[in-house]
Symmetry: C2
Subunit: 465 residues, 2 copies
C-alpha cells in the first residue's frame, strides 16, 4: 500500500485495486467489473443474508429487470422520486418499443403489479419474499466503488400483511435480521428515523442503519420501510378476510446493498490493507511453507491445509515458487486473510503448527493434533478483535453537538437535539453543512433543539456519502 489509512479516500481506492476487488476502468461510468476476489467476498455476504432471511421463512424470487412505463405510472409519489435517475430502454433491435421500459431502480413497481394475482385471501398472507439482483440508477453525482454507482448489487425484501400491526412485527424482525448480519460483518451502526422529506418515496416512515467511515462521512448501509397501505391502495392489492370483507394489505420492505462491502473495507482495514471478518473471507487460512533444504515443508503445508479443509474451513496453500515467504505474508495480509499458518523447519520436525493472526500481534504454536480447537479459536479471536476495533472506531467518530457555534467543521456521527422542523434542519445544513439523518430510534431522549432551543429529540446529523 502506498497510502496510509489516515489518507482515507486514496487508501480506499488503492486497496480496491490492489486486492483485486473491482475494476473501474470499464467504459461505462459507475459500472464496474466485479473481480474474482471481490465477487467472492460479496457472495459470502449474500450467503449470510440468505441464511438470516431463509431461516425466518422468507422466500427467494427473481423478478424481471424491465418495468414498463405503465407499471411505473401507477404510483405517482414513488415514481416521481426516481424520475431523474432511471435508465430507459426505448428500442428493440432497430424498432422503437411500443412501451418504453425502465431498468429497475428498485422493484416495488415490478412486484406490486403481480401481487394482486398472488394475494386473494387472508390465507395468502403474510407474503414475504426477497431477491438479490442488480438495480440501476442514473447517478449524476461523483461515483465511488461500492458506495455510489450506477449498477448496484442489491438485496430487497418485500412483505404484505393483513394489517398494520403485523407489518410492524415484520419491521421488528428486520432489526433482528439486521443484527445477525452486522454481527457476522462486525459492523456497528445506529438506527435513525429519517425525516419526512428524506424517507423512501411512498413510505409512511423509513428507518435507516447508519454507520460512519474513517474520514468522518456517514454511510447508510441499510433501510427498512413501513409502507402501510400507501402502495396497496395504488396497486390494488386487496384480500378477503374470514368474513369475506375486502381489505388493503399493509406492506414493508428492507433494502441493503454492496455498501455493506464498502463498510467492511473502510471500517476494518488498516495501513497494511484489508481485514476481513472470518465469515466472509474467501480464504480464512493461508498456509505459507517456508522453503527448507532439510525437510519438506510444502507437503506438510498441504497436509495441514487438507486437515483444515476437512474441518470445513476455506484454506489455501501459497505454493508459488517465485515469491519469498515475506512477500507472501504481506500479500495475504493486504488481502485481509484472517489467519496465516506458517510452516517452517521447526513446524515439520516438531509436528506442530504456527499461526499469525491478521489483527493481533504475536504468534501461536500448537501440536498438529490440536488443530480443531485452535483454528476455531483463532478465527473467533480475530472476529472479536475486529469487532472491538470497529466499536472503538465507531465511538471515536460519535461526537456531541450542543451549541451551533461548534457546529461548523464537525464530522462523524454527530449527536444533537432537534425540534423536527425543516427550518432548523435547513439551518444546520446552511450554517454547518450538516444533514439531519434522523431521530435516533434506539435511544429516545429529549432535549433543546440545537438551532431554535425548543423541545426536541436526540438526533443524528452528519455528512453522508
Amino acid at each position: 500500500m502506498e497510502n496510509r489509512k489516515s489518507n482515507f479516500s486514496e487508501w480506499y481506492n488503492e486497496i480496491i485495486d490492489l486486492a483485486g476487488l473491482s475494476d473501474k476502468r470499464y467504459p461505462v461510468k459507475g459500472m464496474n467489473v466485479w473481480l474474482p476476489y471481490g465477487l467472492k467476498i460479496m457472495q459470502h455476504i449474500d450467503t449470510i443474508i440468505r441464511r438470516a432471511v431463509d431461516s425466518r421463512g422468507m422466500q427467494e424470487v427473481s423478478f424481471p429487470l424491465l418495468i414498463t412505463r405503465d407499471q411505473l405510472s401507477v404510483e405517482f409519489e414513488h415514481v416521481a422520486g426516481f424520475e431523474n435517475e432511471v435508465f430507459w430502454v426505448t428500442r428493440g433491435g432497430k424498432q422503437p418499443l411500443e412501451v418504453e421500459m425502465a431498468l429497475r431502480p428498485t422493484s416495488e413497481a415490478a412486484m406490486y403489479s403481480m401481487f394482486p394475482l398472488w394475494i386473494r385471501s387472508h390465507s395468502d398472507l403474510p407474503l414475504r419474499i426477497y431477491q438479490i439482483v442488480n438495480v440501476y440508477r442514473y447517478e449524476t453525482k461523483h461515483t465511488r466503488s461500492f458506495i455510489r454507482i450506477r449498477e448496484i448489487h442489491f438485496f430487497e425484501a418485500h412483505t404484505a400483511h393483513r394489517d398494520y400491526e403485523d407489518a410492524e412485527r415484520q419491521m421488528r424482525e428486520y432489526i433482528d435480521i439486521w443484527n445477525e448480519i452486522t454481527d457476522a460483518l462486525c459492523l456497528p451502526y445506529r438506527i435513525d428515523r429519517r425525516p419526512d422529506w428524506d424517507k423512501f418515496p411512498g413510505a409512511m416512515y423509513t428507518l435507516a442503519f447508519d454507520t460512519v467511515m474513517p474520514g468522518g462521512r456517514t454511510l447508510q448501509i441499510g433501510t427498512i420501510h413501513q409502507y402501510g397501505e400507501n402502495f396497496s391502495r395504488n396497486y390494488g392489492i386487496v384480500y378477503d378476510d374470514e368474513r369475506g370483507e375486502h381489505h388493503y394489505v399493509s406492506q414493508t420492505t428492507f433494502g441493503m446493498s454492496e455498501r455493506l462491502l464498502a463498510a467492511v473495507i473502510g471500517i476494518h482495514g488498516d495501513d497494511q490493507g484489508l481485514i476481513l471478518p472470518p465469515d466472509i473471507a474467501p480464504v480464512q487460512f493461508i498456509v505459507v511453507p517456508i522453503p527448507s533444504d532439510r525437510v519438506d515443508t510444502l507437503s506438510f503445508a498441504r497436509d495441514v491445509a487438507s486437515r483444515a479443509s476437512a474441518l470445513g474451513y476455506r484454506v489455501r496453500v501459497d505454493d508459488r515458487d517465485n515469491y519469498t515467504p515475506g512477500y507472501k505474508y504481506n500479500d495475504w495480509e493486504m488481502r485481509g486473510v484472517p489467519v496465516r499458518i506458517e510452516i517452517g523447519e521447526r513446524e515439520v520436525s516438531e509436528g506442530k503448527v504456527t499461526l499469525a493472526l491478521r489483527s493481533i500481534r504475536g504468534r501461536r504454536s500448537f501440536p498438529l493434533g490440536e488443530m480443531q480447537e485452535n483454528l476455531r479459536k483463532a478465527l473467533a479471536d480475530v472476529k472479536e478483535e475486529i469487532m472491538r476495533r470497529a466499536r472503538e472506531h465507531f465511538l471515536s467518530m460519535t461526537v456531541e453537538l450542543n451549541d451551533m457555534k461548534e457546529a461548523r467543521g464537525k464530522s462523524g456521527l454527530v449527536s444533537t437535539f432537534w425540534c423536527g422542523s425543516k427550518d432548523c434542519a435547513d439551518a444546520l445544513e446552511r450554517e454547518a453543512e450538516l444533514q439531519v439523518l434522523g431521530t435516533v430510534e434506539n435511544e429516545k431522549k429529549r432535549g433543546r433543539c440545537v438551532v431554535c432551543g425548543q423541545d426536541g429529540l436526540l438526533t443524528t446529523v452528519g455528512r453522508p456519502y
Copy 2:
C-alpha cells in the same frame, strides 16, 4: 395435472404453473418471474456448474449489464449477428444518453474491451473466467418458458490462450465439464458441429450439445466456441512471449442457460408431474406423517427429518394439517421430489422408516438405525432410474433417415448423411422442414448425402425449438 405428457406442449406449460416454477403473467412479453421453487432448482443447477468449473481453476467474475455502442462496434461480424435482437438504453432520467448502450445479449464485447488491460504477458495466460448473469434478447418469435425468452439466465465462460493448441485443449476440457454437469442432471445429448452459416457470430467453429424433447423438437442446451484470433485481432488482445514478441491470444467460450432446466422438466417428467434428479431437487426427501390416534407420528417424522438433515440431505416435513396424506403424496410427486418418507403407526411402533421412490414402484422399509445407507441408496437408485429412462427416451427419439422420400414428417434427432453443401441443407429444409444441426462430432462416419448422393458425413437434422 390435467394434461398427459403425450400432450407435451400443454403438459409443459401446466407443470411450470402447478409446480410454481415461474409466472409468465408479468407484463413484459418473454420476461417471467422466477418463483421460489423454480429459482431453487436453477440455483442448484448453478451450484453444479460452479463446482465443475471452479474445481478446474476457472474464476468467477461479474461484468456490467450495459455495453456501449463503441464497444459493440469493434467487431463487425459478431455485432451484426445480434443487431436485430438487442435492447437499447437511450435515455438516463429525462436526458438522452450521449452514447447509447445495449443490454448484453452475451458478453464478448463487454469482456474483450477489458482483456487488453488484463493481458500483457505470457504469464497472464491462460485467462479463464466465467459469469452467471441474465442476458437479454429482443426475441420476435413466439416465447416459451425457459426455452425462448427475452431475459435469459445464462452461464458464459471466456478464456484466452497463448496459442490455438492451448485453446483446443480448453475445448476438450469443456466437454469434460459438460459431461460432469449433464451426468448430475441425467441429460443425454449429442455433440453437433454446427454448419458455418449457423455457428456463433465470430467463431471459427461451434460445437453444440443437442438433446431432444418429447414431442420431437430438438433443443440446444449448450455450446462451445473456438474463436481462434477472430476476436483478439479486433479487440487488440495481445501478449508478449518469453522473447518479447507480440502475439494475438486464441479464445474460446462456453455458454449454457436455463434451457438446462427446460430439458430436465421436459425429459424427466411424467403424467404425475416433475421428476427431479436428486442433485438439484430443492427437497430430496419429503416426510409425510400419517395422522394416528395411538402414536405421535408427527414427532417421529420430525426426528427422522432431523436425522436425514444431519446427514446433509435437503429434507422437509409436510406438517400441514388441512390436507390428507394422499393429497400430500400427489402434491410432492407433482413437484418431483425424489423420495417420500412415510411415517405411520407401524413405522413408529416398530421404529422403522418406509420410503416410496418417485420413479420406482413399491416401497422400502428399514430400521431407523439403518438410515444412512438406505437414504443414500434410495437417491442413487432414483438417479439411475431417471438416467435409464432419459437414455431410453433419447434412443426412441433418435431415428435414421436414409431416403428423402421418408423425410417429410420425421421428427426427433434425425441421423442422416450430408455432403456439407448449403444447397442440400436448403433442400432438406424446403422439402421436409428439417434443419441441419451439424455433423456428429462424437461419431464420425461417412456415407452418401441423403439429398445429392455424394460423399458425406453422419449428420443430425431436426426441428429445433
